[in-house]
């Protein structure tokens, strides 16, 4: 197969008719790939004034130009209308999907319409089929994976199986898409977006081959980058303890949310620290395809299932954020209990962060007497794993009116039952960094409402002076840097290797000189386009609120300065409006 640097090659599958077509999207030097390509596709094929569950809304999976060429270019962006916010949204995941899409010969898959029956999509370089899989209805994520692996068997190891669980089928607003068992398109409800299409899973076989770029430049560049990643020690921390190494430092800083953010420090952090997980439960590390780092940490969950010595064991992936959401946030201080909750979440196909934070709200609401067992069915108490385990199931099944509300988000439940002031929602259930004013603003307003759009948390940590102008300047600049990486679909851990200059050289060596020469203009174009789409699909910058709980937080710097937070918010809101609508 050959790649044309001027076009993105997109497989468009229309599930209502069952027909597919290959689209050639021009002007690649402007949209690059990944985040940019997804936005361009939504601009053309999306329906701005229809809700997330409208079958016409596209569900997009896009990779970048460098996927397959260099290490750590291993991510996929999923672009969709969020069932949670209603807005244009993105979620990113690794696993084997990126390389599978590349070697199947595409830069993106775009799925529109709704299948008549529950279906799976089976794609390869020379195949594209929609299979009815009604027998998978209600099946959990792991069982579904097993069934899906029957498709494309001869490409074992060179294919990816993504799927949804019960939560996605039922349209839970924070259902996720599971990628190859251990990775996820986690946030903002991509799983429900897939469920709306009656699509249970997608298997992509990366069974094609491309000619290498001409000349020596690519080989040299590849060697250079590979050495930088594997020999300099800069990636060591991601492989060693992985992201959970952050638990202790953040707890020391009084920046780790505990018990629904009622506090930011607890002496028992050691029980759920990265060190404890590594020493007691770590089974092994695995990697995304094409990445020699191996940052995916798999823990061993051993459970007794009968009175005699009868045990079963499960493999559960863990990371910093999941440990925060289903550990400290729920007051859980046993690493094995965290794994048990994560395992259940995984099976049901829920976003572990939103589910954990939503349950944390429910636990505090119980504590305060706003809801009782009549609503919660089981005891939801900080520190007690069993109740939360049931809570997760009830969210996925929509057991009663309370859990149905909770499955639309903690703020949705709080609006019905009370307790909005302590719902830890910043656009969606919060990420695990209670670092201060800039982080709270960055996620409340930010594109993905997460810690991944800009390094707001880093600004809080690195700056003692309160300079709102500087903070917002930093956020905008940092966002643009991330947009380059997110359009290449590189792993954000690789930012130290792929600086702007290196990216340009890497692009040129791989045959994408046109993109390299236009990188600044493309970055600005994509940043603007993404904000435009978000605003046109319902994001109202002026309506953003930061709940009271976030103003009560005490960190190592002391209490939150609400004046400063308001100032940062106002400036950031203005900047976003400028990007979306131009200068007034």
């Amino acid at each position: 197969m050959k790649m044309d640097p001027n076009f993105s090659r997109v497989l468009h599958v229309e599930l209502t008719t069952g027909k597919s077509s290959v689209l050639m999207i021009e002007d690649r030097h402007m949209h690059i790939g990944g985040s940019g390509l997804a936005a361009v596709l939504y601009e053309r094929y999306g329906v701005l004034d229809a809700p997330a569950d409208d079958p016409r809304q596209p569900l997009i999976f896009a990779i970048g130009p460098l996927t397959g060429f260099y290490p750590l270019m291993s991510k996929v962006v999923c672009g969709f209308r969020s069932p949670y916010s209603g807005e244009w949204a993105e979620s990113h995941a690794g696993g084997r999907l990126a390389l599978s899409i590349r070697f199947a010969g595409y830069d993106a898959l775009m799925i529109t319409g709704k299948a008549k029956q529950l279906s799976a999509l089976i794609i390869g370089s020379r195949s594209c089929e929609v299979e009815g899989v009604t027998y998978l209805r209600g099946k959990d994520v792991f069982a579904t994976g097993k069934f899906l692996r029957r498709f494309g068997k001869k490409n074992s190891g060179h294919r990816s199986a993504i799927r949804i669980g019960q939560a996605g089928e039922r349209g839970v607003a924070y259902a996720c898409i599971n990628v190859d068992s251990f990775r996820h398109f986690g946030r903002l409800g991509s799983g429900a977006a897939m469920g709306f299409k009656n699509l249970k899973g997608i298997v992509v076989s990366g069974d094609g081959a491309f000619d290498l770029p001409e000349g020596k430049a690519y080989a040299d560049m590849m060697k250079d980058i590979y050495q930088d990643i594997t020999e300099t020690g800069k990636m060591k921390k991601y492989h060693d303890l992985g992201t959970p190494q952050n638990l202790i430092p953040l707890n020391e800083l009084q920046a780790l949310p505990w018990n629904n953010l009622q506090k930011t420090h607890d002496d028992r952090v050691d029980n759920i620290s990265g060190e404890t997980f590594a020493k007691q439960l770590l089974l092994r590390q695995v990697a995304c395809a094409g990445c020699p780092v191996g940052c995916i940490h798999i823990g061993l969950l051993r459970q007794q299932f009968a009175n005699e010595h009868e045990f079963l064991y499960k493999q559960v992936s863990y990371d910093y954020e999941p440990i925060f959401a289903q550990g400290s946030m729920l007051g859980i201080t046993s690493a094995a209990d965290v794994l048990a909750l994560l395992d259940e979440t995984e099976k049901l196909g829920l976003d572990c962060m939103s589910a954990g934070v939503a349950l944390a709200w429910a636990a505090e609401a119980t504590e305060k007497g706003i809801v009782s067992k009549e609503e919660t069915i089981v005891d939801l108490k900080f520190g007690e794993m069993k109740g939360f385990l049931n809570g997760l199931k009830f969210i996925a099944t929509g057991e009663n009116a309370f859990y149905q509300a909770l499955s639309r988000g903690s703020m949705a439940a709080a609006k019905l039952y009370g307790g909005e002031e302590f719902a830890c929602v910043l656009g969606q259930e919060m990420a695990g960094y209670a670092t201060g004013e800039v982080f709270f603003v960055a996620s409340a307003y930010g594109f993905r409402h997460s810690h991944l759009d800009t390094g707001g948390y880093a600004f809080d940590q690195n700056n003692t002076e309160k300079n709102a102008g500087k903070a917002v300047e930093f956020m905008l600049e940092d966002e643009r840097g991330r947009i380059y990486i997110n359009s290449m679909m590189g792993c954000l851990f690789a930012r130290g290797t792929y600086g702007p200059e290196k990216l340009k050289d890497a692009l040129t060596a791989a045959g994408f000189g046109n993109i390299a020469d236009n990188l600044e203009a493309a970055g600005k174009y994509i940043q603007k386009l993404r904000w435009q789409l978000k605003c046109k699909t319902g994001f109202d910058v002026d309506a953003v609120k930061i709940p009271k709980r976030f103003t009560e937080v005490v960190t190592w710097k002391g209490g939150i300065d609400t004046g400063y937070m308001d100032e940062v918010a106002t400036l950031y809101a203005t900047a976003i409006k400028e990007m979306a609508y131009g200068k007034e």
């Binding site: 197969m1 397959g68 060429f69 290490p71 390389l99 070697f103 020379r126 994976g145 097993k146 692996r149 074992s156 190891g157 060179h158 199986a161 190859d180 068992s181 251990f182 990366g206 069974d207 094609g208 081959a209 491309f210 000619d211 290498l212 080989a219 590849m222 590979y226 594997t230 092994r284 590390q285 695995v286 990697a287 995304c288 395809a289 094409g290 990445c291 020699p292 780092v293 191996g294 493999q315």
Partner: protein, 139 residues
Amino acid sequence: MKRLEAVRMEQCIGCHSCSLACARLVHKKLSWNTAGIRISSAGGLTTGFEAHICVACDPAPCAEVCPTEALKQRKGGGVIVTHDKCIKCGKCAEVCPVDAIYYETESDLPYLCIHCGRCVPFCPHNCIELRDIPAREEG
């Protein structure tokens, strides 16, 4: 004589750096398949990884069925591959007992390990090694 062996696959993290390197450096392709070493998981990622790689048979069944000597017995085990001589009959891939030959459908050519060891430095977990073929197996 040396042969490539996947000696520590229990340490494998499934990064595919080895296959991608072989495809690039030996077979001049950007691909997962056109490589002498290919990594698969037996049943999803929970089961660990196995390597599909030529085990250097002697005599080599693939060479025996090859009608044009595109695959020729290598001394000590394994084969020497000459794509120019290949008439694209695909018999070698069928006969290999360990699924070590990838028959690429677009170029219609077989791809397999030539025991050069160029993949070895790319494995971050030290899973693969180029080892001498033990004397008793030779000849």
